[in-house]
């Protein structure tokens, strides 16, 4: 008060200043913007909530009465016997392919691009191309998978009369599909590592590999993890490329166990394919079956994301010294 009181004598400035300061922060534009942003958030949540409630509601009759059967049975043509076993098995193995191939290769490529490659027209070309590849429609990857992987497994690398449309072909195709996203997100995470951390490593006589291994990767781990697991989730939800690679929409020839390696060379199906199949069957009795399959796929993807979040939190806590 004492500070502004002399100004009162000059003119009404102090009054006006005080009125503005004490206005309680009620700029209408500011408030409007805040509500608008909140509305967008609520809209996204609402859409998700409706989807989940709808699907879970539809699926309840199946999930509550015969969950065990549903998980253990393969694709069947009778709605009260149909299950998701073959789909889950295929999706599991495809996930293994993505994790084992696209994660290490993608992270490795990102390390090279960020830490080793010098800025030249070539690296810029590579960078642009990877970004474009990430935007290529998944069907195109399906065509690629069909011509290359199925073709190779059918022909040169398969035995006589070997069958190319296998889990291996599907897994390889989706691994390639998720590769660009893995590279991009890993590269972003590596780029975000502060230069001072690298300097600290080099300053005590570390080689490039030692700096990358001991300091850059641990620091970038949360970001890399988030990106890679999101790309895995996306790959597991893809149907289009698998259709092209020959995923089966009917009964599979063999009935191998969940973890049996032999099935990798046999025909396969996956959750999205199975869902499509159930969804296109005529008759109301298939609605709960379809919904139940969707819920199972959602749970698998959510499970992966939960693991991602947990691991990320652990890495982040470590990075911040907690």
């Amino acid at each position: 008060m004492t500070l502004i009181s002399p100004m009162v004598d000059k003119d009404k400035t102090a009054e006006r200043v005080r009125a503005r300061i004490e206005s309680g922060g009620r700029d209408p534009k500011d408030i409007g913007f805040r509500w608008l942003m909140l509305a967008t958030l609520l809209f996204s949540l609402l859409v998700l909530a409706v989807l989940v409630v709808d699907v879970v509601g539809d699926s309840w009759s199946v999930l509550s009465s015969r969950l065990g059967d549903f998980l253990a049975n393969p694709l069947r043509s009778r709605s009260d016997e149909a299950g998701v076993f073959t789909g889950l098995r295929g999706t599991f193995w495809i996930g293994i392919f993505v994790i084992c191939l696209s994660f290490p290769i993608g992270i490795g490529a990102a390390i090279y691009l960020e830490e080793y490659a010098t800025d030249s027209w070539f690296t810029r070309l590579v960078d642009v191309n990877i970004r474009n590849l990430a935007g290529v429609p998944s069907v195109v990857y399906g065509i690629l998978g069909f011509t290359i992987f199925v073709g190779l497994l059918d022909g040169p690398f398969g035995e006589d009369g070997a069958f190319g449309k296998t889990t291996v072909a599907g897994g390889l195709t989706l691994a390639v599909l998720s590769l660009p996203v893995v590279i991009i997100t890993s590269a972003e995470a590596i780029r975000a590592v502060p230069q001072s951390l690298r300097e600290a490593g080099y300053g005590v006589g570390a080689t490039k590999w030692e700096v990358v291994r001991n300091h850059v990767l641990p620091y970038a781990a949360p970001g890399i993890l988030t990106g890679t697991l999101l790309s895995l989730a996306r790959a597991l939800g893809e149907a289009a490329p698998l259709i092209l690679v020959g995923a089966i929409r009917g009964r599979l020839g063999s009935n191998a166990g969940f973890f049996e390696l032999g099935q990798l060379r046999e025909q396969f199906t996956a959750m999205p394919i199975l869902i499509t199949e159930y969804a296109t069957k005529p008759g109301d009795d298939w609605v709960p079956v379809t919904a139940a399959a969707i819920v199972i796929l959602l749970l698998v993807v959510l499970g992966f994301n939960a693991v991602a979040v947990l691991l990320r939190n652990r890495f982040e806590a470590k990075r911040e010294g907690k």
Partner: protein, 281 residues
């Protein structure tokens, strides 16, 4: 524009009667550093003597940090950085074809402007350098204590060696970084404005520490703070900027290099005098 005085060992010594001259451990002869086509600093002559603190002072952009980072090939990390002239350590040309920059940085340690401990435990911060250099694990406990004691931080952290280094205060972090640099048993310690992110008390502790370290190490420090240079250093190099006539960009240059008392009491160059008396920069 006045011609830069080309200084070498003999020049600096001819004016004064010097009785206790230490051996030259690093020598900078006729060095210019470029970033791509841009010449950041030119024609530096600066012998660094054993068990002395050599300070580099001057206004922003005069190339002192660039010069410092060239002394242990830290500039290799910056794309396009290039050194012309000769920088030697124990008589070895650091930019010679067979030189391994990793080994150079082990012998010539560095402390940075902003404390940059690894986001790991205090202990791991110390042991990382020795570990990659192949020091056996059994020596770690003693090495950790010795390094932390040398950096005058042992008493503050001895009970929490397993705690994260990020929990330390800024001044403690910087002393930890000094301990980390010492742990690889270097000859020379380069310090790039090590106190600029610290409060006066923490700064005082680092300055005291530097005086202790002088007995075992040779220190080269870049500082913005003239008082600091006057307080801690034995020799002082004054850099300034000039417009490069060839490309109209600012290039750093060494104006004067001499004993610190001479630089601050009786500098040979008018520009030095203007700077140290506060009339410029």
């Amino acid at each position: 524009m006045t011609e830069v005085r080309a200084l070498n060992v003999d020049d600096t010594l001819s004016d004064d009667i010097v009785v206790d001259d230490n051996r030259v451990v690093m020598d900078v002869e006729d060095v210019s550093v470029y970033y791509g086509d841009f010449r950041a600093v030119r024609d530096v002559h600066m012998p660094v003597r054993e068990h002395e603190i050599t300070a580099m002072i001057g206004p922003s952009g005069c190339g002192k940090s660039t010069m410092l980072r060239s002394l242990n090939r830290m500039n290799d990390l910056i794309e396009g950085a290039r050194v012309e002239g000769r920088i030697t350590y124990q008589g070895i040309d650091l930019y010679g074809p067979k030189v391994d920059p990793v080994e150079v940085r082990r012998r010539i340690g560095m402390v940075f402007q902003k404390p940059n401990p690894f986001p790991k435990s205090i202990e791991e911060n110390i042991t990382f350098g020795p570990r990659i250099a192949g020091v056996p694990k059994s020596e770690f406990p003693e090495l950790v204590e010795r390094s932390l004691r040398s950096a005058a931080i042992w008493d503050e952290v001895k009970d929490r060696l397993k705690d994260s280094a990020l929990g330390l205060s800024g001044g403690q972090q910087q002393r930890l970084c000094i301990a980390r640099a010492i742990a690889t048993t270097p000859d020379v310690l380069l310090m790039d404005e090590p106190c600029s992110a610290l409060d006066p008390i923490a700064t005082g502790r680092i300055e005291d520490l530097m005086q202790q370290l002088k007995d075992d190490y040779t220190i080269v420090i870049v500082t913005h703070n003239m008082q600091q240079a006057a307080r801690v250093s034995d020799r002082c190099a004054f850099f300034t900027t000039e417009i490069d006539a060839t490309n109209d960009r600012r290039t750093g240059q060494l104006v004067e290099y001499d004993r610190t008392d001479k630089i601050f009491s009786n500098p040979a160059d008018e520009r030095t005098e203007n700077y140290v008396t506060g009339r410029f920069g």
